[in-house]
Symmetry: C2
Subunit: 345 residues, 2 copies
Amino acid sequence: MYPLLQRHISERRTVLTTVKDVARQAGVSVGTVSKVLSKDLTVKVALRDRVTQAVADLGYKPNLAARALRTSKMDMVGLVVPDISNPFFAQLAKQIEAEAAKHGHVVMLANSDDDPAAEARQVQTLLDQSPRGLIVVGCASEGVSPIKTDIPVVSVDRRYGAHDLIATHNRAASALVADHLFDLGHRRVAYISGPQTTEVGRLRQAGFCDRFNVLTAGLQGVDLHVVEGQFDYASGETLARNLLGAASAIRPTAIAAASDQQAIGALCAARDLGIQVPTMLSIAGFDDIDLARLVVPRLTSVCQRLDQIALLAVHAVLGLNGVPLADQFVSADLVVRGSTAAPKT
Amino acid sequence: MYPLLQRHISERRTVLTTVKDVARQAGVSVGTVSKVLSKDLTVKVALRDRVTQAVADLGYKPNLAARALRTSKMDMVGLVVPDISNPFFAQLAKQIEAEAAKHGHVVMLANSDDDPAAEARQVQTLLDQSPRGLIVVGCASEGVSPIKTDIPVVSVDRRYGAHDLIATHNRAASALVADHLFDLGHRRVAYISGPQTTEVGRLRQAGFCDRFNVLTAGLQGVDLHVVEGQFDYASGETLARNLLGAASAIRPTAIAAASDQQAIGALCAARDLGIQVPTMLSIAGFDDIDLARLVVPRLTSVCQRLDQIALLAVHAVLGLNGVPLADQFVSADLVVRGSTAAPKT
DNA sequence: CTGAAAGCGCTTACAG
DNA sequence: CTGAAAGCGCTTACAG
């Protein structure tokens, strides 16, 4: 009666195997096939085997869209980052993809370009696909965009809206640097901070300064000088140049920076000024980017456990292993390399 | 009769607006709503407006899974790369995501870890989601895995299986470097190649050498020395160290490398050996990675048009603007910076 | 333990 | 130009 429609269907048939085909082949009902596929143990072994066999014989692949239509969920996780070409976010994305894959989930990726409006758009676009969960690294400019959805949303590294955050324990991690420099004997120290408009910037500075102040309380000849910058290379270079311009009697014996980019900028400034690192000046960064291992001398830095963060984020949104949807902070490791040493007395 | 089912449905209703709701609100049939949504112009303006209004009033969002079930296609593009944490692939991914978004498509990302088996798995996983198209950057180890599907597949940068390739015209791009060094006056030149097991490695080497040979045909005092390496930093440093060990009378006045990593390795080797760049030695790289702008002196390199490549790849798989599913090669730009200069006579 | 059947929300060829 | 209805492939509560 509908010749065209018929033809249309039979064409698709040649390429698509459905649960109906499997049912016929196995001599059972489609419901049973579906149950076997969803590992329902009420199906008797004999039938289960026949179905499994039929699935293998026909090379059956479930139609994920149909399944999603019924369950209103796709086996996908959305990820929005400010900029995937930032190596840090790329590393994170890689770990998240790997972790999601372990649980049979695909990841959809979107960039917000650090623009709250674009971020809101991207979040919505990914939500529209009915993913199982959404992971977002918030914009630097903290645009409050209260997303309402029943899909679990978690932020990573930088908080997104009012959602729970999984990130490195920046305070504690930054304190490790203070410990290290203090232990080496540094007392005249400068800290190049990140923008105080960002949570990360504030936490890293507080972590370093609070610890340094505690350690040096009551000691002589102590100086902690803080200068605020951006997280980038240029900022580090400029600020370090200022810090190091002074006579060597007053200038710091060590510089801690809130990012590796800044630290590398400082490294270049020091070299330009003829100040040997680490003999005359120690420099420490934060993030342990690839470049940290390539510069000369290699940079002492703080290495975040991105695998841990990715694992927690994926588990949290998928509701796995009882990982709760809540703020969680992961400790980081100090990696000591050639750019820090005891000050020359 | 099915109280539980009823309740289930009404619960979902509160959160989900369907085309039925829109139809009721607008006083039309669901078919009409669907037609308006798909911009079918046969619907009269009056009705169309009513529907549009209802959609806005109700904040209606189509259920993408249902749509996909009917059309057997999701508005998604799959992307598999060897390693998203490689900045080059990250840049590419970013451009692809941006281009796909322009056409209302979301991108699913997967890593193959440069492992053909994992690659095959990831490709299959993404294909299972019924994307509109699939873009893959092949593994270095060229595993032949003939994927059969009616979903358009294209490879980018590195060929995947027998699929069409969209990439930089590596031969021509590499020839630009030969032109540049020749024009500066270099005649004793070394080329650090990439692995000759890779297509990219072969093409870049051929592009450079063929052009250099043509330019210097019949000239005196010409020497082109080729050494094969990996694309990485360590390889560049080691090979350059060998090349530069010779007395200055015989050693090359310029080194061209198949990658920026190699070139930067060479830069470090030269510095260690006390050979000034560019005064005593010119060095050129390939890829124009971020780092190329940060090293001292800044690196002359070849900048690929990733935006162009991304555009062609997305258009090709989506069948847009008549961009064909076929091999396509994009030209690149030479970026001259401080690491190259005329040789000291 | 298994099957029959309803229904997820949408699109589309057809009748009017 | 518009509506009624079939059907996409799957899951699931219920009957047997």
